[in-house]
């Protein structure tokens, strides 16, 4: 008589070992995201004008607000705690900040309109900063002297580099990855929707949000370590946009926003709107390192930005509210 229990236990053990989040399965599994009850009553929550990025540590969430030019700090259970920064050009002040990362006790801000990078501590005290010769869009910090800044290509001088590596004093160490350039500034910008997501061992994933299925893995020096294609089973959606001279051009949108956690990628799948546009969605596809779909997550409503920590999803909804979800198998 066969003993079916052992292989099953082994399979589950291999898939879930050391993994607080979604376990490896042979076929994609489905999860539902259930909202966590918040500590703070709704009317006591601070208004987020245009939250564009969120990062977390073991005790807090940091939400970058582009229109308010500040970082709003919450407990991990969603209680508002304090604000870092304000509009301005001085140390610890921001103007249209668009990227945020956290490393140890430091927050790294892509201070877009001030064309600089600023480093502040978790209470908002200014630590350091440096100017950059472009509009910084996203930022990844791997160490005090290893900062990767992603620019928003302007196309003013043709093709530009997208990735720029700096040390802590602002010295440019390397540049990598050419932007898409066709001379149509609007289309080009939409083709340059790059996402940089942290991986383990000081490495990061680089994704192009449109017209590409490639997951690139780079190290902190901008060296390409490997590539994998996202499976064709993943639903890339097309949308026609108005181009120059009345020509319509088609964009194939990979993800609205994405996140990484424990060597998995989380793609916020775009959703068709009533008027035929393509907007934020209410489904997340969990992608493995080989580009396979590991799992799918159903959200109760549309999210615009996500961050994932194990079986917890931090998200921002269409009204700019912070939402916290726990994953439950379906």
């Amino acid at each position: 008589m066969k003993k079916p229990g052992l292989p099953i236990v082994l399979a589950i053990g291999l898939g879930c070992h050391g993994h607080a989040g979604i376990c490896l399965q042979t076929s994609p599994s489905r999860y539902a995201a259930r909202e966590v009850k918040r500590e703070t009553p709704a009317d006591a929550r601070p208004y987020l004008s245009r939250p564009v990025a969120l990062v977390y540590d073991e005790s807090r969430l940091f939400v970058l607000d582009m229109d308010d030019d500040d970082i709003k700090v919450f407990s991990r259970s969603g209680a508002f705690e304090y604000v870092i920064g304000r509009k301005g050009q001085g140390p610890g002040e921001f103007h249209l900040p668009s990227g945020l990362d956290i490393l140890g006790d430091r927050l790294y801000v892509a201070d877009s309109a001030n064309r600089r990078v600023q480093v502040v501590d978790k209470r908002g005290s200014y630590l350091s900063g440096f100017r950059v010769p472009f509009s910084p869009h996203r930022i990844l910090a791997f160490g005090p002297d290893r900062i990767v800044v992603m620019s928003l290509p302007s196309g003013r001088d043709g093709q530009e580099k997208v990735l720029h590596g700096f040390d802590g004093s602002g010295e440019l160490l390397w540049e990598a990855v050419d932007s898409f350039y066709s001379g149509d500034s609007v289309y080009d910008l939409m083709r340059n929707r790059w996402f940089g997501l942290k991986a383990s061992r000081g490495e990061f994933f680089l994704l192009r949000g449109t017209d590409d299925r490639i997951i690139r893995r780079l190290d902190e020096n901008g060296i390409l370590l490997g590539e994998a294609g996202v499976t064709v089973k993943y639903p890339i959606q097309e949308v026609d946009i108005p181009g120059r001279e009345g020509r319509k051009r088609t964009l194939r949108v990979l993800c609205w926003n994405c996140a990484s956690d424990r060597e998995r990628l989380y793609f916020l799948v775009p959703e068709r709107t009533e008027d035929g546009d393509l907007g934020p969605g209410r489904a997340i596809a969990v992608i493995g390192l080989a580009g396979e779909i590991v799992a799918s997550i159903d959200l109760p409503e549309q999210l615009t930005r996500i961050a994932v920590d194990g079986n917890t999803i931090f998200g921002l909804d269409l009204d700019g509210r912070l939402r916290i979800f726990r994953l439950e198998p379906k």
Binding site: R50, V52, M66, L96, S98, S112, A113, S135, H137, L152, S154, R156, S185, V186, Y187, L189, M190, R193, V239, D240, I241, P242, L251, V253, W256, P270, T273, D275, G276, D277, L278, G279, P280, T304, L318
Partner: protein, 76 residues
């Protein structure tokens, strides 16, 4: 006669330097402001969650505003 021509040319050169160069520099500074505002406009549009088509329309408005700004009609 030669001295008069030379003097006239010198005066013209002098006036060019002191009248034209500041204007050119001012025009360049103005263009830089236009481009800075354009980049801010694009950055805002790019970070909007309005949908892909609406975002491209917004980006097109940024381009129009840049054109107007550079032509000196108005600031973005």
């Amino acid at each position: 006669m030669k001295r008069a021509i030379a003097l006239t040319l010198a005066v013209v050169l002098f006036l060019s330097v002191f009248l034209w160069v500041p204007q050119l520099s001012s025009a360049r500074a103005r263009a830089d402001i236009c481009y800075d505002d354009w980049e801010s406009c694009r950055s805002r549009a790019f970070q909007s969650d309005e949908g892909i088509v609406k975002t491209t329309l917004w980006l097109t408005v940024c381009d129009f505003a840049l054109g107007k700004c550079i032509l000196g009609f108005t600031k973005v």
